[in-house]
């Protein structure tokens, strides 16, 4: 069971309001009922983790081995940020139905991206 995300911009660096185009391919045991490509940011560091999905594309009628293109538009804010106690990180991810009834969905693939006007993370820890 594998899934891969490939972006049209291979460096994965975007400016705010830019469109994130790419393709998702997968090879699963059975044809899933649905798959979703999600564009989201989440926090790391101190405090309760926050995950905010900004855009999603629901892929229907997919087969066990397939490939689909997607295009999602970034908002103005927030930027990718590496601060002293918190970081804000962007990613594109593919989700599918979970294998167990208590797992409604499962993450199949994720790819981090950078979002800022300079296409570099903002903040002190820029690695």
């Amino acid at each position: 069971m594998t899934a891969t995300i490939v972006l049209r911009k291979p460096d994965g660096r975007f400016e705010p309001r830019e469109r994130v185009d790419g393709s998702a391919s997968w090879s699963l045991e059975h044809a899933p009922a649905w798959l979703e490509v999600r564009l989201a940011w989440h926090t790391e560091g101190k405090g309760t983790k926050e995950v905010v999905v900004i855009g999603l594309e629901r892929l229907r009628g997919v087969s066990a081995q397939d490939q689909r293109t997607f295009g999602l538009t970034l908002p103005e804010m927030p930027y990718t940020y590496h601060g002293r106690i918190v970081s804000i990180l962007w990613s594109v991810a593919v989700f599918g139905p979970g294998g167990r009834f208590w797992h409604r969905e499962q993450l199949l693939a994720t790819l981090p991206i950078v979002v800022s006007p300079t296409r570099e993370p903002i903040g002190e820890r820029r690695t």
Binding site: E15, P16, R17, T43, G45, K46, G47, T48, K49, E50, V52, E76, M77, P78, Y79, Y81, G83, R84, I85, V86, I88, S116, P117, T118, E120, I122, G123, E124
Partner: protein
Amino acid sequence: MMVVGYFVLAALHVDPFVSFVLLCGVLVFAGFAVSATAELLWGTGARVSVSRQPVRAGETFRVRCDIGRTQNAQGLRVMWQGREEAVLRAYDTTRFVEPFLRQELIDVQKASASIEIPLDAMPSFSAKNVRIVWSIVVEARAGGGLVQNDFPVLVLPARS
């Protein structure tokens, strides 16, 4: 005190719901009164004026600070501050605050100070558990402690 007040009102045959609302009102009023008294006793009466609000990354703006009660303004410091705030929501709410920039503004009472926001600065941002806050902070030693007044400045993304 609230419990005593509740029983006093009950003895006067006041409706329990009315008593509750009345006591909540008294509690809020007492909070404001204590805050106002503390500000009068130990507060600096600081007022901060900025030449523009909001301000965009890459822009410059001017700040002036007026101190209303100079007798309370011992060791006065005025700072341009950027800080991260994170909230941990568990059994109780814990707030973490960490400044990432503290720039002291010199002689900001006598003349206005100029602040330039770098083009690549993180703009103000607020979500459920994380915030990026820019503000003018006025600090003074008063009443045996450090009194801080925070004047937030909204920093918007740079013009594209």
